[in-house]
Subunit: 481 residues, 2 copies
């Protein structure tokens, strides 16, 4: 339950203050919201902490029940703020939570999307505080999911709660569609959207799952890379072999794997898979100009990330490499003895995890096949190579000039005093492409994270400053209709 | 305690039987031993099971106390069979067990070496029965250490027990020097031998820690490769990074590691480290001929190991590759996300374990430095590379014509009916080189394992047939002086 500290006496005081400064800002505007957010901040954070405590790791089977708890938590929260038709919809994987409020006659309908699942917390030992025991420190809340995406999803729930409490009604019709499989590429939400297009129909899809350019500089992302994630497994003998007795004369699964993985890139950073760049558009002068406008300080970035040097595809800038060019990254590798000291074995198996970010007309299935073909061609003697696919998502490009997006830009500018930029995001939110295509509605990627908030990494956190201003911005946006 | 089932009535019956068949074989010879071994086999195996239950994994700090238990078990066993001056000698690592019996005046002194430590059992999930719960199945005893080296060491203890019980004395002077650090390359036994050369002085060093060529074909190894084991660690950023936000523009520790590890070999199987082959002798025609005599069936080996193909340094046969050529094997690799499914991170660190087998005049320290130089030269942009050394052992070559070795060949021939071959072993027993050099005594590598017994791998086992004949052969050898 929400702790409504001082809630009885607050409205009068606030309205009084607002009346005094009338003329400086409109009564229904940001100021009241700001006061309200301040008033309820501690209670809100306490509630968010409950949400963050649920280890809803969608990628790991052992967390299945925890993911369900995440869904139940969201459903309960939607009911608490007066959403109707709240339901936990079963899928072949983790459930989808739906809820709506459709009484703003003649007003547009906004569909709010977010996800209650989180990335695995590993490597646990690198967290300074436990990933599922939220801690507020130095103006930030630390926990897995703090910024991606529980914290950001929570902003919408709280914004609507405030608006509803203040006015007894909402300025727009609202639908919530919250999933628990975003971190595993939404295998079930896509089909759900396709077969429930009428139920979900909306004038805009509002998503807070992206980041600012940097602190104080908001951004509305208008391009998301597609994604493909897969695993390569190499097997050689039917048992690990003694490196003395057999060393030098039999295939070694780790040798074969490192040879295969290394073969995927040229030394200039280009991806060596034949036809990989098929469908990647040559960047126009206009696009390169737009990307070049995003501020970038190489020295600062190197310092911040603890890097000796940056490294990427030759001939492209950092923001081009991460925004408009495709990538192939090895996310993990494993094989043979990994414990303390040494064990002189010839490993019989090894595996690597690979993910690609795709752009333009690159098709994830086609790229998966091209990589498979490459691996087959480069297969070292004696290695048995298999692949397995986890994630597929098509790239998407949104129109920054769409009124729904421009209106969001206005809301940011009002609250932050700075107009957002329109960056090309390197990450993938696979479902965005489906929403845009099936609902034929603009998707507004109204993010409140910061790129330095360690999303997908240890010590993930969310800045409380954006927590507060985020709620204000969403209220401002919804009230603008 | 040893279960002495039917021990009272046995001697008379046996001697009677022996007298009956007098003329077919000598009274003091193999036949009595064979009967004795049969008589005590169950009790012996029960005792060996106790030994195998101790998880004396020397490489893992958490097993320190278990390794000590292994030492205590050996000391107790030596006392039980009448060895004198039995002591557990402390070192900077795991203890050495010493014991002797020096009352065979005018007879030679044999120093018996073995080790009571074992390899780590990982990967545990591939064991069909738990590694430290010995099971006898199908004429084999399964457990970590069954063949390497607890089972083989145990043969000597039992052989001396039988001889002592039978004759009340021993045919030779005996010294036991049993260590607990062989699997981590004997860091403390070398210095111990150097500073206790007088105490350990012997006419031959007897070691059972090697294998037959195949079932029924004994072998006395006369060449052991040297060894070098090390770890390479690569670091890039100070945190794992999101592959969407940074993918394609920053160094990836796993990319860098696979590039480095792959660079260590050419495609023809030769090691690509500059000057690596320095000190490797060109094999003489005589040596190649000797190696070619060792039987080898490529198809059979492929079937047995479950391999599609063999793979090694071009221009050399299997037995040359494993016996007289140096190697560089990757024993393990690890980095980034290794759990179920996918985690789209750019790993900040990764590491690989490497071991080399060395021959001729290759010096482990020099090779370690050459690899370090190679890694530095091939270091990808943005990677911070460090190395750590675990093991060093010099190669050793023994003279197959030495009388002590020829006498061992006679003993094998008597018991097995087949004269042993003299193979060049691919493995390393680092301490052999030290024994040979410091004690100036021939080292007799009288192994009773089989190459198929999964040493260093899951489901390690030891054939009971060689368990019995092994004890007989050792008795035969010691009685031959």
């Amino acid at each position: 339950m929400i702790k409504e500290r001082n809630v009885q006496r607050a409205p009068f005081c606030e309205k009084l203050r607002v009346l005094i400064i009338i003329g400086l800002m409109k009564i229904e505007g940001g100021y009241i919201v700001k006061e309200k957010v301040q008033l309820h901040k501690d209670a809100f954070l306490q509630e968010l902490e409950e949400f963050l405590k649920i280890p809803s790791v969608s990628a790991v089977e052992a967390h299945k029940d925890d993911v369900r708890k995440g869904a139940e938590w969201v459903a309960k929260s939607l009911e608490n703020i007066g959403m109707e038709h709240v339901e936990i919809i079963e899928t072949d994987g983790h459930p989808i939570v739906y809820g709506d409020w459709l009484h703003a006659e003649g007003r547009p309908t906004v569909l709010i999307y977010g996800h209650y699942d989180v990335q695995p917390p590993e490597p646990i030992e690198l967290w300074e505080t436990p990933p599922f025991e939220p801690v507020i420190l130095d103006g930030k809340i630390f926990a897995r999911g703090a910024t991606d995406d529980k914290g950001q999803l929570f902003l919408h729930i709280k914004a609507l709660e405030l608006l509803k409490k203040e006015h007894g009604t909402l300025p727009v019709n609202v639908k919530f569609c919250i999933e628990g499989e975003e971190e595993i590429a939404s295998p079930n939400l896509g089909p759900f959207i396709e077969s429930n297009a009428d139920k979900l129909t909306a004038d805009a899809v509002l998503v807070s799952d992206t980041s600012f350019i940097e602190k104080g500089q908001p951004a509305i992302c208008t391009s998301l890379r597609g994604a493909l994630a897969m695993e390569v497994q190499v097997k050689t003998a039917n048992s690990d072999l003694h490196s003395g007795a057999y060393g030098g004369a039999v295939p070694n699964a780790v040798h074969a794997l490192v040879r295969l993985l290394d073969s995927l890139h040229q030394t200039d950073g280009k991806i060596a898979v034949e036809d990989f760049y098929e469908g990647v558009p040559e960047p126009t002068e206009q696009l390169r100009k737009e990307v070049a406008e995003i501020p970038f300080d190489e020295e600062e970035m190197k310092r911040e990330l603890g890097l000796d040097a940056l490294f990427g595809e030759s001939g492209f800038t950092f923001h081009e490499q991460t925004g408009i060019r495709p990538t192939l990254e090895i996310n993990g590798v494993s094989g043979g003895y990994q414990g303390e000291g040494i064990k002189t074995v010839i490993p019989k198996e090894a595996s690597g995890k690979i993910s690609c970010r795709l752009v333009g007309d690159q098709d994830p299935q086609r790229v998966y096949e091209l990589i498979g073909k490459h691996l087959k061609k480069h297969k070292p003697t004696g290695a048995k190579v298999t692949t397995k696919q986890f994630i597929q998502a098509k790239p998407v490009v949104l129109d920054s000039q769409d009124p729904m997006i421009q209106r969001a830009a206005d809301a940011y500018e009002k609250i932050y005093g700075v107009r957002p930029l329109f960056p090309k995001e390197g990450g993938s939110i696979p479902i965005v492409e489906v929403f845009a295509r099936v609902l034929e509605a603009p998707v507004v990627l109204m993010g409140f994270g910061l790129p330095t908030e360690n999303l997908h990494a240890p010590n993930e956190h969310f800045h409380l400053d954006n927590f507060e201003k985020g709620i204000e911005t969403i209220c401002e946006y919804l009230q603008s209709f």
